[in-house]
């Protein structure tokens, strides 16, 4: 017959015993004890049943909005502060001493461009300002194009660096109707 002292030694091993992870001789010792001790045998059965209950739990899943929310969060928390936005980069570009005078001039002339074109349409004998004005407007457009293009290639080459790209890439497989927060049990 099993003694109380045996039970105290056996019980802490029951958790591993029901897992089947006890080393050979220990497992054998426990098995032997359980065959002669109803109290420990019942304790082992109950532990085993407890484990079964835990394993019966359904697996929970993230909502449909998860990926999009993650992308937005990544963009807000991590990516945005590290990268100046387009407006800032344009202002930075403007503040460079070597380009400012040229562009300021081009910008000023570009403001006159519609007028210049208007005059040029009506008066073939154009004033001297006409060619540079048109050319300047082209320069400014080209500058903006370059900045935008640079931003786009920057973003596609380094998608993690671009919040908008992150949102687009992450949320693309979800499709629409993915804003609802999934039904939960």
């Amino acid at each position: 017959m099993a003694s109380i002292i045996d039970c105290k030694k056996i019980q802490p091993l029951l958790s591993e015993y029901v897992d089947g992870t006890l080393a050979g001789d220990s497992a054998w010792g426990v098995k032997l004890h359980l065959s002669s001790c109803a109290v420990c045998a019942r304790a082992a059965e109950e532990l085993s049943a407890t484990v079964s209950l835990l394993r019966s739990l359904p697996r929970e899943e993230t909502s449909d909005a998860f990926s999009e929310a993650l992308a937005r969060r990544l963009a807000d928390q991590v990516l945005k502060p590290a990268r100046p936005d387009l407006g800032e980069r344009v202002r930075e570009w403007w503040s460079l001493p070597r380009v400012r005078p040229a562009l300021a001039a081009a910008g000023a002339l570009a403001a006159l461009a519609p007028a210049a074109l208007f005059f040029s349409a009506r008066q073939p004998a154009a004033p001297v300002t006409e060619p540079p004005a048109v050319a300047s407007a082209g320069d400014q457009q080209q500058f903006l194009d370059e900045v935008l293009e640079e931003h786009a290639s920057y973003a596609s080459g380094e998608p993690l660096g671009d919040p908008t790209a992150a949102v687009l890439l992450v949320s693309s497989p979800g499709g629409e109707g993915s804003t609802a927060r999934g039904d939960r049990p």
């Binding site: 802490p12 029951l14 958790s15 591993e16 992870t21 019942r42 059965e45 109950e46 532990l47 049943a49 407890t50 484990v51 209950l53 835990l54 394993r55 019966s56 739990l57 359904p58 697996r59 929970e60 899943e61 993230t62 909502s63 998860f66 990926s67 929310a69 993650l70 969060r73 990544l74 928390q77 991590v78 380094e158 998608p159 993690l160 660096g161 790209a165 992150a166 890439l169 992450v170 939960r184 049990p185």
Partner: protein, 207 residues
């Protein structure tokens, strides 16, 4: 079978990490797709709240992205992610709102714990009637809620060990790596956690 080692998908974790370290968003998304289910389920069982679990799961991946540069392959990616998740849980509990377990005694009987449960005399001892088919689904849901409630009464350390082992199916060794604790501590946490749950769930044990 649920361990993080058993993956035979096209890209290994190692190659995904390398790509992710070079700011490859596709690799990042693949890691998220691979692990979000496990991490979310763990966090759901830890917090008992879908909303909190989703919030924390997102934070896990944000942290992963932030720290991917410092990831060294001493541990597996899964281990690392679960460690981040566990730490976030601890922080969340420390901030105060989620953890009712610490104020509740493990020795308390299954009924009559805590003021928020109110009149809960009937909460405990009615065993679901499995024979009546229409009620089976409801009973199953009900049982799931009881198990979750019992989990939430465990101290977080025991809860985490039990969830990782019995819900996520992880080996003792993996849990030791995640929690940075000795193997013996893992085993005793699982044992103590299970014993406490057994007391809480006694009415539902089919012996």
């Amino acid at each position: 079978m649920l361990t993080t080692r058993s993956l035979t998908l096209p890209h290994s974790d190692t190659s995904l990490i390398a790509r992710c370290q070079k700011a490859d968003l596709a690799a990042f998304n693949e890691i998220v797709a691979r692990y979000k289910g496990k991490i979310y389920n763990y966090l759901y069982r830890m917090t008992g709240s879908a909303e909190d679990a989703e919030d924390l799961t997102q934070e896990v991946f944000v942290r992963m992205y932030t720290n991917i540069g410092s990831f060294r392959a001493q541990s597996s990616l899964g281990t690392w992610l679960f460690r981040i998740a566990g730490n976030l849980c601890v922080d969340a509990f420390r901030r105060g709102k989620k953890d009712r377990a610490v104020v509740q005694s493990l020795d308390a009987p299954a009924s009559g714990h805590g003021a928020e449960d109110g009149g809960d005399a009937q909460q405990t001892q009615d065993v679901p009637d499995w024979s009546q088919e229409p009620q089976r689904l409801f009973a199953r849901k009900e049982l799931g809620a009881k198990i979750q409630a019992a989990l939430e009464k465990l101290p977080p350390k025991l809860r985490s060990a039990v969830v990782l082992h019995d819900v996520e199916g992880m080996a003792y060794e993996e849990i030791a790596a995640i929690e940075s604790i000795p193997l013996g501590t893992v085993k005793s946490r699982i044992f103590n956690g299970r014993v406490a749950l057994r007391e809480q769930l006694r009415p539902y044990l089919e012996a």
